[in-house]
Symmetry: C2
Subunit: 385 residues, 2 copies
């Protein structure tokens, strides 16, 4: 082990006392989870028509302050529907960060659209709006109010900023740029349930947004996601398109469009209702843990502990250290040393433009993403720590 | 009410004594459902990496006698993946019954392929293989071993026979025809868990098959489905493509293809394990109910109670009466009278070729489907009756 990786392992061990392997994150079920799930089973309505589905949607809308939440089987499904409802069509382009989870590029591909990769900024870990504006100025032109990529001659329909590890993108800046180019914004809030941007919940800064409740997220429904929107019509459409678009009738089976079987089952929603009750507590504990890490790493010259942007109150879903450029070659030593010593860590996702199926997709210069890819490390962030 | 609808209501009431509205089907949770789901929550692994997922897959393989079961978020997802693994590509055609649930045509559309509608036979409610063979003889030609629709010049890649209401299609006949034309068979066994064809479980007569565990099915996981296959390679691929195709590594995130987030969460699988334990009992009770209905309707000249084909042992998931052609105009009277008197009934699905989004798709003559659409009525079939 290198001296830096040694130092990181021993530092982390002052906070993480467990003898067992400590994951990055794990759910905590100390509330009404078993009670509600049992009640759901006893009600006999475990499927998507169960009452817990409506209740979870109502609770999510209340918590986030967004008018409508429409639950789905997972975050990928929520993103897929958000893209469809933003009128993304086959052969359109969708701007997404190269530094995000693969599901975003996959969801774009399901429609036959093309992911177009954009860079992030180190300060927010999210989309760099200044760089984006320069790029769009150089490669696009607006024809009849529609933004075209002059190189590919395809429409750039939407952009999917992602609130990385829970830290909000600077949405006001991004919205100004997106508006200028007539590009629809879809917030990927999969990691940022409980994170606020200038006092409003993430997902409330765009027409439509997606949440995730996968097992590794701040609350979980086993698998699950949700679409958030303040638009009544979009909310109605989201419900229709996630439930096979069946036209209500006493007995007839007619459907209004090609649609999806994406609605969350009540069994999962019941778990979600209980988890959401505990969310304020999880956020509090995770923010306290972040403070401890901040203190722990404050004298490290080789790295910095990542802190929320000044405009944000973050859920600190996954804590992050960022190696100084001079220490980027230490990344794999640190990953090896921590994982070998019972402390789960991971790098950021391999950049999407480097994945075999997306390597020929259009991309802006990705200097910052390329640099961060070599320097970002997630450290254990469970709310039990 | 007409005299026939009166007669049906009063006859059904001799079997169905409940004062409350009696649905077509509803799940029964009288086994280990709460125990296993509680255990799953207490294990902390409620998501798709949980042990209950593997256990449910093993139990499904054991019950069906098919070598591999790969669980998914629902039956639509299982069908979608089965089509992809059968090499169905954009612009291919897939033969599906016009008389089936919309999910089949939707799943074909997700790939950008074209549903091509075929007729069923009244004896089995499934694909009419003789009529299919005549049709394929007239519209197709084989070039380099590939079946082309001469009219559209597109490849006919696959056929998706569906075991309607649990009653098995005559698979031996169908497989002979499909083989002759080099068309891959994908069994849609969504409704036929617990149904056997010539002693083997449905889904075991083709290279790949799909199951569903939606809330209305003979067992439920809330929402869920599974892919069945005896092929080791296909099974491996099915698991990869339903789990974002992440390449295993201690920490790196690389993915081998555009893939899906389709794996069933452990919370749902835990319910499935308990439900599957009770399946033999459910089948026994449902077959007894079918016998009662057979006796009840034996002297009706206006309709017949549908019985399993001679080669089959059916799960009788949904019981069916079929009106005589002279009484087809009574269908809506009967649906109205029964539903108004606390007895849920429904017609078969509106034919898929009549749905707005599929009305221009290719189709063979659908005389039998058109006739059955006006005459088929499902009657209450819950295992508690």
């Amino acid at each position: 082990m290198s001296s830096l990786s040694n130092k990181i392992v021993s530092s982390l061990k002052t906070i993480i006392k467990s003898e067992e392997f400590t994951p990055l994150h794990a759910p905590i079920f100390e509330g009404n989870e078993i009670k509600y799930v049992t009640d759901c089973i006893e009600s006999n309505f475990v499927s998507s028509v169960g009452e817990y589905v409506n209740r979870f949607e109502k609770d999510l809308a209340t918590f986030t302050g967004v008018k409508h939440a429409i639950v789905a089987v997972n975050g990928t499904a929520a993103l897929h529907i958000s893209l469809l409802l933003s009128d993304v069509k086959r052969d359109d382009e969708v701007l997404i960060p190269a530094m995000t989870f693969i599901a975003t590029a996959n969801a774009v591909s399901y429609i036959g659209a093309t992911p177009h990769f954009i860079d992030v900024e180190e300060r927010t870990l999210g989309v760099d709006s200044d760089k984006l504006e320069d790029y769009l100025n150089s490669i696009t032109e607006i024809r009849d109010g529609v933004c075209y990529n002059k190189n590919s001659n395809r429409v750039i329909k939407a952009i999917v900023p992602m609130h990385t590890f829970g830290h909000p993108v600077d949405m006001d800046k991004l919205n100004i740029v997106a508006n200028k180019f007539n590009i629809t914004v879809i917030e990927d809030a999969a990691e940022s349930l409980g994170s606020f941007y200038k006092g409003k919940h993430t997902g409330n800064q765009s027409k439509i947004a997606a949440l995730s409740f996968n097992g590794n997220k701040i609350i979980t429904t086993g698998g699950g996601g949700a679409i958030l929107t303040n638009d009544d019509k979009l909310a109605k459409k989201a419900k229709i398109i996630t439930t096979t678009a069946k036209i209500p009738h006493r007995w007839n089976y007619n459907h209004s469009m090609i649609a999806y079987n994406y609605r969350m089952p009540a069994l999962n929603a019941a778990l979600g209702v209980a988890q959401l009750e505990k969310l304020p507590e999880f956020i509090k504990i995770k923010r306290e843990l972040a403070l401890k890490y901040k203190e722990l790493f404050k004298d490290f010259t080789e790295l910095k502990f990542y802190e929320e942007p000044s405009y944000a109150k973050s859920n600190y879903w996954l804590n992050v250290i960022i190696l100084d450029k001079d220490f980027k070659n230490e990344r794999d030593n640190i990953l090896d040393a921590t994982n070998s010593n019972g402390l789960m860590t991971r790098p950021v996702w391999a950049l999407l433009n480097k994945q075999s199926m997306f390597k020929d997709m259009p991309s802006m210069n990705l200097d910052i993403s390329n640099s961060l890819e070599k320097r970002v490390i997630n450290i254990p962030s469970g709310a039990w720590l």
